[in-house]
Symmetry: C2
């Protein structure tokens, strides 16, 4: 079985964006937004938005299941306040839930958290619990910079985050470290802010002892780990200079990388440098890069092709990357899948 | 000949740091710093600071010449104001000049610019000209984020920077994109801020038309280009989605990468993905990673070993990486070297 651990609902009907714009407009004036009234998306619209996009690509590429969450750039935690974020997160997570009900074999949910800059992350626990316990979600996306490119909140290793981590650990779900859009014009969202956040989070983990406090807390660093695997020697060296333990024992029980790296040499490096047990298959389709690579004639984000082409991977390695590691990291997904098969 | 295009004076006598601390202290109170009086470093101290460090490593590794600039983390553009920065830059650049006079065969200077957050970069032109025209420097380090991790100034492609670029082009020197320390606790300097800045700068160049306005402007992106080569497929794909020209014609006449990547798989990827004409040899010794890699028994930052070990590089490729490309990018260095040899 092939599990894509990183997919966002990037193809939602335009009603969702219209709703969001209405919500943002309502922040400016005194008008009050009546949420329930304004968003109407039918099941048929949802089906239509997926059939020719994610579902078609799943079939074409031989992907069985996508771990699916709201559009990352759309989370926009920096917009409005905590209430804005809670309202918007519920709407987006509910849509994911409907998708998972319509296509229970194809999608399993991961939630957006109602983060807001300067607001203690414990405020997200309610929505996290709702998504996991009531909607059957198996993980969450955690934004290390809810300010959207200003990095004004404490690092991920600060006790500021601990109440949320306690809930995450108690619920037994992993968190994917995933920023949203950037409102700092220095940072292009998918070309710079995403990569930077991945790299930054890893380095925060390296310099702290977070996993002594939370030995079972699990993070997935997406986009192939940002700059980290390419500079693995640098990180091993910095860790050594700082008298940290070697990275495998210091971080790799808790930190995992996905395979959203869109060319063969990148996947070659990732699978050479990072232990196989720490790599989870992912495409992030339909996402940051939508086109076909003229050099190969295949979609840039068809990462399964690259993994198939790595000559030194054994079948058991590919099994771990495609399925085994995801089942371990997303324990609740594994429970679901075990329950499914008689 | 082997030219290391990226070295900083990280081993300066402690008097330099004491001077800087005194300067910073003077910002707090009303006391006025009398600069010239407080910094005294003898030629012997300079020799001592280099003989067992950079010079020893040059000899051991077979490096002929290092393009040498003040310590990057020490630039601290976010500290104090424009005057602080001018005073400090002059002191640091003058030290580099003394080194180049003491060891004219081993070092050629690159200057720190007196940037300051919120201050138009044109203010750096005077010091740049002094360093190039009077001290014989061949390039400059340009900080894309003088705020030190808050990214509060405009992107490198904004006209804000154009007056400085005009001077850089007129003087015919390249700029290495290099941040300094981070005063944002989210970003570890050498582990996150450096990488992020490299990635960010590349993406700024990708989305703009800076090199239409400045066809001969040349940037070196250090640390192997941050996350860029590892994600080269992503960047090719984003460029294509954004209807930008293919990266080689869009950026690679103007943007170069150094080889500060501290393990074999990283250098393998870099030399596979980036055209050889765009790669400049560098170590950044004695820098971010000072230790010996227990897996190889050699210094992490002994990047020449990795380049030697890349099986598909021909001798002419290595010649370009070690010397030829540096002579092209640092035109003034080439002039110097041509002048040297009878």
């Amino acid at each position: 079985m092939v599990i894509d651990c990183h997919g966002h609902y990037t193809t939602a009907p335009r009603e969702l964006e219209a709703y969001r714009q209405q919500q943002i407009e309502s922040l400016k004036g005194s008008s009050h937004l009546s949420t329930g009234a304004t968003l109407k998306i039918t099941d048929d619209q949802i089906r239509e938005s997926l059939e020719n996009a994610q579902l078609k690509l799943q079939r074409e590429r031989g992907i069985d299941l996508t771990i699916f969450s709201p559009r990352a750039v759309g989370m926009g935690h920096h917009i409005g306040n905590a209430n804005t974020s809670i309202e918007w997160s519920r709407v987006c997570n509910d849509l994911i839930h409907r998708i998972c009900q319509l296509y229970p074999d194809n999608f399993v949910g991961v939630c957006q958290l109602p983060q807001s800059p300067g607001v203690a992350p414990g405020s997200c626990i309610g929505e996290l619990k709702r998504c996991v316990e009531e909607l059957g979600f198996v993980g969450c996306n955690l934004n290390p910079d809810p300010s959207g490119g200003h990095w004004s909140d404490p690092p991920l290793t600060d006790p500021w985050w601990y109440p949320l981590y306690e809930a995450i650990v108690e619920l037994n779900v992993p968190a994917m470290v995933h920023v949203s859009g950037s409102c700092n014009r220095n940072f292009h969202a998918t070309g710079a802010h995403y990569m930077n956040a991945d790299t930054t989070a890893f380095m925060q983990f390296l310099t702290a002892d977070l996993f002594k406090d939370f030995p079972s807390l699990k993070f997935i660093i997406p986009h192939g780990g940002g700059a980290v695997p390419y500079h693995w020697g640098r990180y091993r060296g910095i860790a050594q200079d700082l008298k940290r333990p070697p990275l495998p024992q210091h971080l790799l029980h808790n930190v995992f990388f996905d395979t959203c790296v869109y060319h063969q040499p990148g996947i070659d490096l990732l699978t050479k440098v990072i232990p196989i047990d720490n790599i989870l298959f992912a495409t992030e389709m339909v996402g940051a890069v939508k086109g076909v690579d003229p050099e190969t004639g295949h979609y840039f984000d068809d990462t399964k092709r690259y993994i198939q082409a790595v000559s030194w991977l054994r079948e058991e390695d590919r099994h771990k990357i495609y399925e085994g590691n995801a089942r371990k990291v997303f324990s609740r997904l594994n429970q679901k899948l075990l329950g499914r098969r008689p």
